[in-house]
Amino acid sequence: MIDMSPNIVLVVAIGALFITGVYLLLERSLTRVLIGFILIGNGANLLFLVAGGRAGGPPIIGQTPVEDMSDPLPQAMVLTAIVITLALTAFILAMAYRSWQLHGHDEVQDDLEDRRIVRLAAKNAPTYNDTDSIEDSETIDEQAAEARDETGNGVA
């Protein structure tokens, strides 16, 4: 039987990591977003440890009785997740540094094209002028009257 009741300290720590992480993820500066990502990532890793049940001896047959073994699978998964988090952290740091190089800050910027579309919508005007949509003062009747009349009535 595996004892699955979670360790309260771990649960509180996971909660704290997620709360602070979510708060930081909502910031606009990439560095803070990165710290938020690391915190939530660590929270998720702790969650894996809780998911693996209570701690036990090394899971090697002959060294630990089967019922005292700890579950090795979550630990393997946490290890993978840590490696992935590390690589992505390095990438975001590089990106934040590049953003700082280019703009002097590392804040996520608004999309220019979005702004342009919003301005267009506010103007409520066509985005371009067709040659056939150029309007002049004449109505269609006046234009018809101006055009050459082929029925012969106009001549007489």
Partner: protein, 531 residues
């Protein structure tokens, strides 16, 4: 059949190996090109091989000889191998296109030696996600392809790409975190991450817990697949990347998310409690996505919005939870990967010829470059679903499946898909009129389209037409794939034999059971997940 199981890991191993080689040979661009082309060509061959093999039953490899629920397994069933074949073909064509672009731009002057290794890693990640028989391996596949996509999207590190990259990376990281949390909770609840074993154990756990797990997975995959309202990141980030990168992202990355939804919805969560929710999401994705496309004035952004919109069709097919709906959805994915990639490549050509992708400044391309007009027109009409092209066939399949369902909601979705289809035609025709027919506001610069870029694009247009030509057998294949997926026992029996083990070796513990096999551990785990 077992003598061919060595084919299964090849689509993952070959690109990864080639990525290492190209990274080591970063001083030799010619060698890099040859290695990449050879690796991806072999991947296409492996994909086709698996496509044929998987038609007579899933091909399974337990990696390293460790039996399935303990070890990691790769599963190539009909759906996986179809996705694999289509995506590797598309990857190869886009690679050839980018080689053509590099040659004409003279990349000896500004070498981007990182491009080839990253592109190959992306290919490996996509294959790994399609072949994964294990939830955690699926996560690793996602991370491989996402990490590669971060690099490709910010290639060169210009201001615009860093801006777009920040949005893309942060959103993708968030979805990965949600996926990771979902896996941790699934492990807590069931004590396994193997898909086949999960399919056995998830129905036994508390329905409330199961619903939470399903929602978490759907949330993670929904961000990746760009389902409304989780789609806002896509049109902001994709259009800034180089044309071949945008093309491959648009074709493949969202479809991997759709694939993951298909797999989990049919295999793990068969009770269909979220089908109604998925239906509404599909409707919102289709309609709101296409309304966004209608408003756009830049052809790349317009296509990004149609991409979001057409994800809705695939979700519609999945949400119907019938064999016909799923089959149509699978066919639609195969069609959409090809056509969306083609369109983005053509837009790359338009940008090269006209110097811009803004519809306000383009014009008269039909006269200046009639060949380009044909290359744009065919996939554009295919996207809009004009008969007899494959887009039309996929949509008809979806509509028929929706009508067969017969519920008011299904009928609403049928109407929604028709409206979306018409609006797609409107948006595409608007782009066509402005870019190809209107008098250009100012004369376009003189530019020649290199044959090395036109060739691969034409090949992809041809592939799109080929999908139409072979749509009968292809649709039948998709339908058979859907048939096996509607019966999860097919998948479970293929991966695990009667003792609940895969083909590899795994030594049982001294008392004859392993913790993973202990029936009591499931119950304990369930309680753990509840508390």
């Amino acid at each position: 059949m077992s003598e061919f199981t060595w084919l299964v890991p090849l689509p993952v191993v070959m690109p990864l190996f080639a990525a290492g080689l190209t990274l080591a040979l970063y001083r030799h661009p010619r060698a890099q090109r040859i290695i990449s082309v050879v690796a991806l060509s072999l991947m296409v061959v492996a994909g086709v091989g698996l496509l044929v093999l998987a038609d007579s039953g899933p091909v399974i490899v337990d990696i390293g000889g460790w039996a399935a629920p303990v070890g990691i397994d790769l599963v190539a069933d009909r759906l996986s191998s179809l996705m694999l074949t289509v995506s590797s073909t598309v990857l190869l064509c886009v690679l050839l296109y980018s080689l053509g672009q590099g040659v004409t731009d003279g990349d000896e002057a500004a070498p981007v030696s990182i491009y080839h290794p990253t592109y190959l890693v992306l290919a490996a990640g996509v294959s790994n996600a399609f072949l994964a028989g294990d939830l955690f391996n699926l996560y690793v596949g996602f991370e491989i392809l996402l990490a590669a996509s971060y690099v490709l999207l910010t290639l060169g590190g210009t201001g615009e790409r860093i801006r777009a990259g920040s949005i893309y990376v942060v959103v993708a990281l968030l979805s990965s975190l949600i996926f990771l949390v979902a896996i941790a909770m699934i492990y807590a609840a069931t004590g396994t991450v193997n898909l086949a074993q999960l399919a056995q154990r998830l129905p036994e756990i508390d329905p409330g817990v199961r619903l939470v797990l399903q929602l978490l997975l759907l949330l993670a995959f929904g961000i990746k697949a760009a389902i409304f309202p989780l789609s806002a990141w896509l049109p902001d980030s994709y259009p800034t990347a180089p044309a071949p990168v945008t093309a491959v992202f648009a074709g493949l990355l969202t479809k991997v998310g759709v694939y993951a939804i298909m797999r989990t919805q049919t295999l793990l969560f068969t009770d269909g409690r979220l089908d109604t929710l998925l239906m509404w999401l599909a409707l919102a994705t289709m309609v709101i996505g296409i309304l966004g496309a209608v408003a756009q004035n830049d052809i790349k952004r317009l296509l990004s919005f149609t991409l979001v919109s057409h994800i809705g069709y695939m979700i519609f097919g999945i949400a119907l939870a019938s064999k016909a709906g799923l089959g149509a959805s699978i066919f639609y994915v195969a069609h959409h990967i090809t056509v969306q990639t083609t369109l983005f490549l053509v837009v790359g050509l338009i940008e090269r010829r006209g110097g811009t992708t803004s519809l306000e400044r383009l014009g008269g391309l039909a006269k200046l470059a009639p060949g380009l007009a044909i290359l744009f027109f065919i996939p554009a009409m295919n996207l809009a679903g004009i008969p007899p092209l494959s887009g039309f066939l996929g949509k008809v399949g979806l509509l028929e499946a929706g009508v067969a369902q017969g519920t008011p909601l299904a009928y609403t979705l049928v109407i929604g898909s028709v409206v979306t289809s018409l609006l797609t035609l409107y948006a595409i025709v608007k782009a066509w009129n402005k870019a190809f027919w209107q008098t250009p506001p100012e004369a376009l610069p003189e530019a020649l389209l290199p044959g090395t870029m036109v060739g691969p694009t034409a090949a992809l247009v041809g592939l799109g037409l080929l999908l139409t030509a072979v749509s009968g057998p292809l649709y039948a294949y998709a339908d058979r794939a859907a048939g096996t997926m509607m019966e999860p026992s097919n998948y479970i029996d293929a991966v695990l034999d009667s003792t609940g083990r895969g083909q590899g070796d795994s030594t049982l513990t001294t008392d004859g059971t392993s913790p993973a096999d202990d029936p009591t551990s499931t119950d304990d785990a369930t309680q753990g997940g509840d508390s």
